[in-house]
Every structure is written in C-alpha cells, then in structure tokens.
Symmetry: C2
Subunit: 422 residues, 2 copies
C-alpha cells in the first residue's frame, strides 16, 4: 500500500535539511509531538477514516510560531515565505492568464480582472505548489543572467517553461471550477467578495468558466505529453464526480466519512495530486518520484479541505459559530459534524429533520460544541499534512541548496495550510 | 474574396450528378429560379447583408416537393433521406457518447439519456453533415465484409475512424453548448421538451456540459493533429464570443445586421464550418478543398440559423405569431425584425421602449407583418444555401458513385434546412 510504503521509505531517509517539524519518526517536543496511532499503517488509510486518531496537534498551535498574513502570501516570523521563492513566476502566470482572456474574449475582461488581477488571497496556491514541486524535484529556475547557455540549460529552460504552463493550466481549471461552483450553488459570495456570478451574472460565470476549460485543454494538448494529458483530464472528471457526489447521495452516503473523504479527494485533492505528479512526469522522473509528488499533492489537498471545513464553523476564532456556516446551511455535512455524530448518534435524527430549519442548525451546533468533532477534524488534517511531509522527506537526497529550499517550502506550506485562519 | 472565388470555380464546373437544383448559373424554372443580385459579388458578402437581395425562393416551396418528417430524419418523397447514408454511424456515435457518460460519471446518466438516447430531432445533424462531408471528399466508409484488407483499406478505415471521432466531438461540443445555453437563458423548454436544466436542475446541466467539453478536448488531443485542434478550439472561443455578443451590445450593435450575422456565425456556423474543414484536413486534402468544406459548413450553418429565427415567428405555419416568439420575448432581435426596421424605421422607437412589455411585442409584430422581413430573411437563408451548394459543386470531379451520392445528400440537406418547419 502506497502510504505504508512512503512511511517505510521515510523511516530510512534523513529529513530535508532545514525542516523543523514532522520528522518521520515518533518524537516529542514542548511545542510539537506526533504519536502515530497504535493501529499502525491501518490508521493511515486515507479513505477509511473512522479510526480514532491519536495524532496530537503539532507545533502549529505553539505560541512562538506567530503566523500572519501579508498580501497574498502567508508568512511565518522565523521562516521564509514559501510563495516568495516563486513569486515572480506566479506574477507572470497571473498576467498571462489575464492577457489571454482579455485578448481572446474582451467581453470577459471583467471576469479576468476579478480572478487574475485583484489578487484575492489563495488564488495562486495551486501554481505555487506545482512550481515549488518542480524545483523540489531538482529542476532549477533558469537564470536569465546566465552567460553560458549550453544544451543542458536550454533543455532545463524548456522544461521549466512547460512546467510553468502546467501550473497555469491548474489555475485555469481551478478558477473554472470556482466559477461554475458559484453558479451551481447560487452562491452570493466567495471568500467575502461578491462572487463573479453575483456581480456580473450567471452568464459571465458560465462562459468564463467554459473559456478557461477549453483553453486549459488546448494548453494541455500543446504540452504534447499523453500521460500528462490523461492525468489532467482525470482531474476534470474527478471535479465533476465530486460535485455530483455532493449533489446526489443516499442517506447512508450523506453520513459516511468514507464518502466524505472520497468526495473531498475528487473536489479538492485531485487537482493538486495529479498536478504534482504531472510536474514529475514532464521532468521524466521515475514512477516512484512521481508517486511521491502525487502523494504530497493529495495529502496537502485533503488537509487543506479539512481545515476549510473546520473554518466554516470556527472562522478566525476557535469557537463555534464564528464561521460562515455556509456548508451546514446548504445541507452539506463535513468532517466535524460526522465526528460529532460518532460521539452523539442522536445528532442524526436532528440532521434528518433537515438543515433548512435554523433551529436544527442550532441543535447540531450544540452537539458539535459538546463533541470533539472540530478537534478530530483538525487532527485528521494534521495527519494528512504529516503524510505530505513524509512524501517530501522520501524524495531522493540532494545537496542542491535551491532544491532543498523548495522542499522546505513545500513542508512549510503544509503547516501554513493547517494554521491558516481564512 | 473567397465567395467570389467559389462562384468563379463553380461557373466552370459541372454540377454534381443528381443535383436537381441550384445550378451555379442563372436559370429559370417553373418551380425554381435564382437571380443573382445585379450588384454581383458584393451581394454575396456574408457579413454585409444590407443589400436588397433579389434571390427568389427556389423549388423549396413548390407543391410537388412535399417534405415531411420521419422519426429523427427528414425525408423528401422523391429523394433519398440524406441521413440514411450515415444512419449506422450516427447510431453508433450516439451509443458511444451515452456509454461514455454513463461509465465515467454515472450520476450524469439521466442527462446522457436525455441527449443521446431519446432521439429528439436534430440532435445528430452536425455529425451527419461531417460524415457526409467525409465521404463527399472521396473517403469511403470501410466495408466490414471486405475480404482484401490491404494497406490502403486499413489506412482508409483508420481515417474514417478518426473522422467519426471528429463527428462525435462536434456533437459533444454542440450538446455542451445547448446545456450551458439553457442555464444561461434560464430556458424552460428546448424544442418543446423540458430542458435538461429544468427537469434535472442547473447543476446537472452545468456539470454535464463541463464533462462533455473536457472529454471533447481530450478526444481532440487524441486525434493528434495540431491544425484540427487549433481549428476546433477556435470553435469553443467562437461559441463563447457569440454568446457574449448577444449578452452585451451597444444599441447600434443591437440593431445592426452585420453584428447579427457575425454573432450568428459564431453561435451556429462556426462549429459546422470548422468541423467540415477539419474533416478535410484529417484526410490531407488541399487547402482549396478544405476551404470549400469550410464554406459549405459556414453557409449551411447561417442558413440553418436564419430559418430558425424565422420559425421563431411563424412556427409550423407561414403566418406570424404562430412561433414561440422566444427570441423577441428575450429581447433578442433577429433578421426578420432587422429587415422590418429597414422598411419601417419607426419600429426602432418601439424596440427601444423594451420588449419586456407585451404591448410592444404586439406592435413590433404588426410592423413585421406589414413588412417583407420574414420573406427577406428566408431569401437570405436561400442565398447561403446556394453558396453552400456552390461549394459542393466546386469540389474536384469524381466518378465514384458513393462520393457523388454523399455530395448530393449534402446538397439536399441545404434544401431540408430551408424547408424545415420545426
């Protein structure tokens, strides 16, 4: 099994230089301890998450590591902002995407401005992960000032260019799915800003999404790599499958943690996992390295979504009811509630009565508050963050400082994902 | 200029054997006469259609040619049903498309059933045109019973297979655009059947459309022909551009015949024209032949849409107000009204007051009834049908009976498009 394989690998490799947390073995520290479940590998099964995890929360909540937000990136006092390593490339990608929309369908300019110019936070998370992964797998960013452009550096520049296109493609797919999700859910707002369909109408949202999908497909075809095309087209199917799973489910599926995790993989983690794997494939890495890249993306994506689900209840604070409660109000049951149901089976009867009634939401929140639902959801996120870090630690060793820096950035990203508060 | 070139070519070629109308030279017949405008080539300018066309309506309205509908195809008493030539392939395409959706996203089965199984009329028009074009350009349908499968027939079979995939792709793109149009327009019905978004919700419509777009892109990439990929991706852009043109226009654009024709090209004719051209390119035809294929598709598409716009006013009868009046009720101004405005400039003031008021629609219909708007829109459609036939007549001569039969079918299709009543 893949996860256990990663763990076995990680136990025999030293951790990335500069990685200050999540060493692969059990250890304890004032601000940081991870205790793998006594049930061993089985506790790491990604789609079978009913086990009582015994992971405690790592350094993330330690007071000395004060994390704050700065512009579109998140910075920790004593560490390099992971986004800064690829900031120039991210900026160029956003500019290219905007220019493409404006040039090809001028009437969608407003939508392009909205998504690629206003710099709403988190919009470039996926390309950042892919570009960091590209460097983490030994591929250097070409130096424009380099004086000796031999065959090798030309090939490296060409590869980096292709990987940048892939990063761009993931952003296009992501933004298209946001646009269409907004239409689907009739969402009035996204992250506090009026959603594009609310501001500009459903028409613009559907058309802009369609445009991005079709351009992403053409860009993928231009990469001329059948394996990458197949992987990334699987993402499109997964996004759609995840949405249909959310849309139509039996009562048992609705309350199933397995079903929830599978849906979460399809909706959030598939793009990151297939994107990271594709980065490795473009660079002709071994199947083992490609799998590690995939596992990093998958686990980071799952952690990201689990925290998203927690924040829907807690918002910026740790107390309940401070979030937007958007999921539960739309009848979407996520990990915290599913865990609460395990502790208080009577919660199901409340949920069965329908979440369109505010009083039922109140009761459900009461049960959630009495339970360990929020904490267990955070722990599950931390477990996936740990698995993501393990994948990075399992990569072939390197002395290249740039590569090590990018690997550390990927590790730091898992922490940022866990500690973000919006 | 392309059109004049086609005409020059067509004047020097004999007409397709069996083509019983639209000979390229001027002529007159009891039931059939075409008089090119005295302004010559300029009258044939596709996007500059303000000229007073002097084309009369050809044989289409002659009583002896009784056209009726039979199942999903339209048959004329004394001619072969054009669809019958490719019926088996069309049926296989529908089955493949349905199976693909059902296998990959089972929850979209209902949408797949709706579009690929219920056989609502007109659903396979585009693949039929492409497959007929494939044969018309000398590519034979491989005979499964053939005993001598040499290199040549294997290559032919492979080519036909690729052309079938392209026909499938056009249907996917078309259905996806229907699905998303329904969401955009909030249309309750499409062709009298409850639209998929009305029956199954916006979610299914958007997702099913997204699925088809992404699969169409992958299928296109699999054809591994960069020129075809570029052409077909232009279609996606055109569909979106056409929709945005309809969505946002200045007052002058709103009442401009040029703008209307350009939008019509993007929304309807682009898919057929690029599809037909791609069929030629897959078969390695000359640029001249590819251009003729393109012109056939473009003019057929324009004729198709012009008649669609007429039918919105007349429905199955020739009298006004028998159609669904869906366009005008949505504030969409089409050719009949634009022509009526040329005769009665005071109509513009009525339109300016807004078509959300039923009394304004009544007044607009009165003006339309007094004008030659309907007739002139039909004449414009007939002109484009003529240009489509001219393109077929300009193809390199052939003695191959199968090829000639397909060319005749394409010619007959133009007539069917003009005389359809739904």
């Amino acid at each position: 099994m893949l996860v256990s394989r990663i763990l076995r690998l990680s136990r025999h490799r030293r951790s990335v230089s500069g990685c200050r947390w999540f060493l692969p073995q059990c250890h304890r520290h004032d601000h940081f301890f991870i205790l793998p479940s006594s049930s061993g590998d089985s506790a790491l099964k990604v789609f079978g998450c009913r086990e009582a995890y015994t992971w405690s929360l790592p350094t993330l909540y330690a007071p000395r590591r004060n994390i704050h937000h700065q512009g579109s990136s998140m910075v920790e006092d004593d560490q390099l902002d992971p986004f800064s390593l690829v900031a120039d490339e991210l900026s160029r990608i956003a500019t290219r995407l905007r220019a493409m929309v404006v040039a090809e369908v001028p009437k969608l300019t407003s939508a392009a401005e909205y998504f690629f110019k206003t710099g709403a936070e988190g919009k470039r998370f996926r390309p950042a992960v892919l570009l960091l992964m590209a460097t983490a797998l030994n591929v250097r960013i070409p130096q424009p000032t380099s004086v000796s452009i031999g065959d090798r550096s030309a090939a490296e520049a060409e590869l980096r260019f292709r990987q940048q296109r892939l990063a761009e493609i993931t952003e296009m797919i992501h933004v298209a799915s946001l646009l269409h999700d907004d239409v689907l859910d009739d969402a009035d707002t996204r992250r506090g800003i009026g959603s594009v369909n609310f501001v500009m109408g459903n028409k613009v949202a559907v058309l802009a999404g369609d445009f991005l999908i079709s351009r992403a497909c053409v860009a993928l075809a231009a990469l001329n790599n059948w394996e990458v095309l197949t992987l990334m087209s699987a993402v499109a199917k997964d996004l759609i499958t995840g949405e249909t799973m959310q849309m139509t489910s039996t009562a048992d599926q609705h309350y199933s943690m397995d079903y929830y995790m599978q849906k979460t993989y399809y909706k959030t983690a598939s793009l990151l996992s297939h994107g990271c794997k594709s980065i490795a494939i473009l660079a002709d890495h071994t199947a083992e390295v490609a799998l590690l890249a995939f596992e990093y993306g998958r686990n980071l994506g799952l952690a990201f979504q689990l925290i998203d689900d927690v924040l829907d209840f807690t918002g910026t604070s740790t107390s309940l009811g401070k979030g937007s409660l958007s999921d539960i109000r739309h009848g979407i049951i996520t990990a915290p509630i599913l865990y609460a149901m395990e502790e208080f089976p009577q919660l199901r009867a409340v949920l069965d009565q329908g979440l369109d009634k505010p009083e039922n939401i109140e009761v459900a929140l009461e049960y959630l508050g009495k339970s360990n639902g929020i904490q267990r959801a955070r722990e599950l996120a931390a477990k996936h963050a740990y698995l993501a870090v393990s994948a990075i630690n399992s990569l072939p060793e390197t002395e290249d400082e740039e590569v090590r820096k990018s690997r550390r950035a990927l590790v730091d990203l898992t922490q940022i994902v866990l500690t973000r508060n919006k």
